[in-house]
């Protein structure tokens, strides 16, 4: 019986394939920002409750990743960047991805509610709904603004972390949300500029496909200009301080310079050096977000010693 099954499913999934469905790299960002959200909050949380909160937030994010892979299997199969994912490669059946996504969503939301509070659980449920339904099923295939609005899904984790600790939403958690929300468009459009044919082959209306590359370059600059005051303004909220301000000014100057360079270039120049500037700005954008949240964490960690904060 077992051997017959083995013949029928030569691409049977290993445990790692189910882990890959949860998008572990995205989860690592979620874990880090949720962790900062909890630690930056002015209320202390028992370490076990904080650990459980972070794990269930990450599990919810992973569940929405599985639902996204179930829905997007057809376009993932066309794009070079995603064609080796478990569903398009045939190692995991679409129904399994859907089942895993739904089951883990339920477990994550219910357990977060029981472990912490209902606001945190409600925000997590909304985040999963927003990413799986609003972004994946609706916006992604219908508007070039998909990344702009869909970025909200990735922006919620620190706000949920804050809610885990305080049971509320505040100007500080709204700032952390806004930082990721405003960072997402220039980050993804820099990627779209050098992932040349992928999005057009898949029929995803990315800005590069619908409005052209010149317009995308302009959008990277404009959205970076909008991001800068948000990122620096956060220094003057309750979780900011001199460490954060110094870090933000430094990082935003570099990011703005990169966005300016992207705007000044045309496709001929970009192709000549194999999109070196676009790739550099994309890589830097990852450090940009990590270091901003690192600075918030540093402010919170040093506060007890009278150094962090204003």
């Amino acid at each position: 019986m077992t051997d017959i099954n083995a013949f029928e499913q030569p691409n049977e999934a290993g445990f790692g394939d189910y882990v890959a469905l949860l998008k572990p790299r995205v989860m690592s960002l979620v874990v880090f920002t949720a962790f900062v959200g909890i630690l930056a909050a002015p209320v202390s949380v028992h370490p076990v409750v904080a650990l459980a909160g972070i794990l269930f937030i990450a599990l919810g994010a992973g569940a929405s990743g599985a639902l996204n892979m179930w829905w997007d299997a057809d376009i993932d199969a066309v794009m070079r960047r995603t064609m080796k994912r478990p569903v398009p490669s045939g190692r995991v059946q679409p129904g399994e991805a859907l089942g895993l996504g739904l089951a883990l969503s339920g477990i994550a939301v219910v357990m977060l509610g029981l472990a912490t509070n209902m606001l945190a659980a409600g925000l997590l449920a909304f985040t999963i709904f927003f990413y799986a339904v609003v972004y994946s099923m609706w916006l992604k295939r219908s508007t070039p603004q998909n990344i702009v609005i869909g970025g909200a899904a990735g922006a919620f984790p620190p706000m949920i972390g804050w809610a885990v600790a305080t049971g509320s939403v505040s100007i500080e958690s709204a700032f952390m949300f806004a930082l990721i929300f405003m960072w997402t468009p220039p980050h993804f459009w820099a990627l779209a500029l050098f992932m040349k044919e992928d999005y057009s082959n898949a029929g995803v209306p990315m800005l590069t496909v619908t409005h052209g590359r010149k317009s995308t370059r302009k959008h990277v600059l404009v959205y970076t200009l909008l991001l800068v005051p948000v990122a620096i303004g956060g220094a003057f909220t309750g979780i900011g301080g001199p460490i954060y301000l110094t870090t933000a000014v430094f990082l935003n100057a570099i990011f703005l310079r990169g966005a300016w360079q992207i705007w000044r270039r045309d496709e001929t120049q970009a192709e000549a050096d194999n999109y070196a500037v676009e790739k550099k700005v994309f890589r830097f954008s990852l450090y940009y977000l990590f270091l901003h949240f690192g600075a918030i964490l540093a402010e919170a960690a040093l506060k007890p010693y009278g150094i962090g904060g204003w």
């Binding site: 051997d3 030569p10 999934a13 290993g14 445990f15 189910y18 028992h46 409750v49 459980a52």
Partner: protein, 67 residues
């Protein structure tokens, strides 16, 4: 026709079983830890069985109850 015992598919199934087992153990440990923390945060308590325990009432109330 049987697969040889060392066929790669058995490794994948074994990895699934071990992964799921470890995940469940981790989940049990986490729920146990959460339970301990929640119970200890509540403070002194006895099992709830709808029976009044005079020794747990504040001193005045216990006195009035006794009259």
């Amino acid at each position: 026709m049987a697969f040889p015992a060392q066929h790669e598919i058995y490794k994948r199934r074994f990895s699934r079983n071990v992964g799921l087992g470890l995940t469940l153990v981790a989940f049990i440990v986490l729920v146990f830890g959460l339970t301990m923390v929640k119970v200890m945060q509540v403070g002194q308590m006895q099992a709830f069985d709808h029976v009044v325990r005079p020794e747990m009432l504040p001193a005045d109330a216990a006195g009035e109850g006794g009259q």
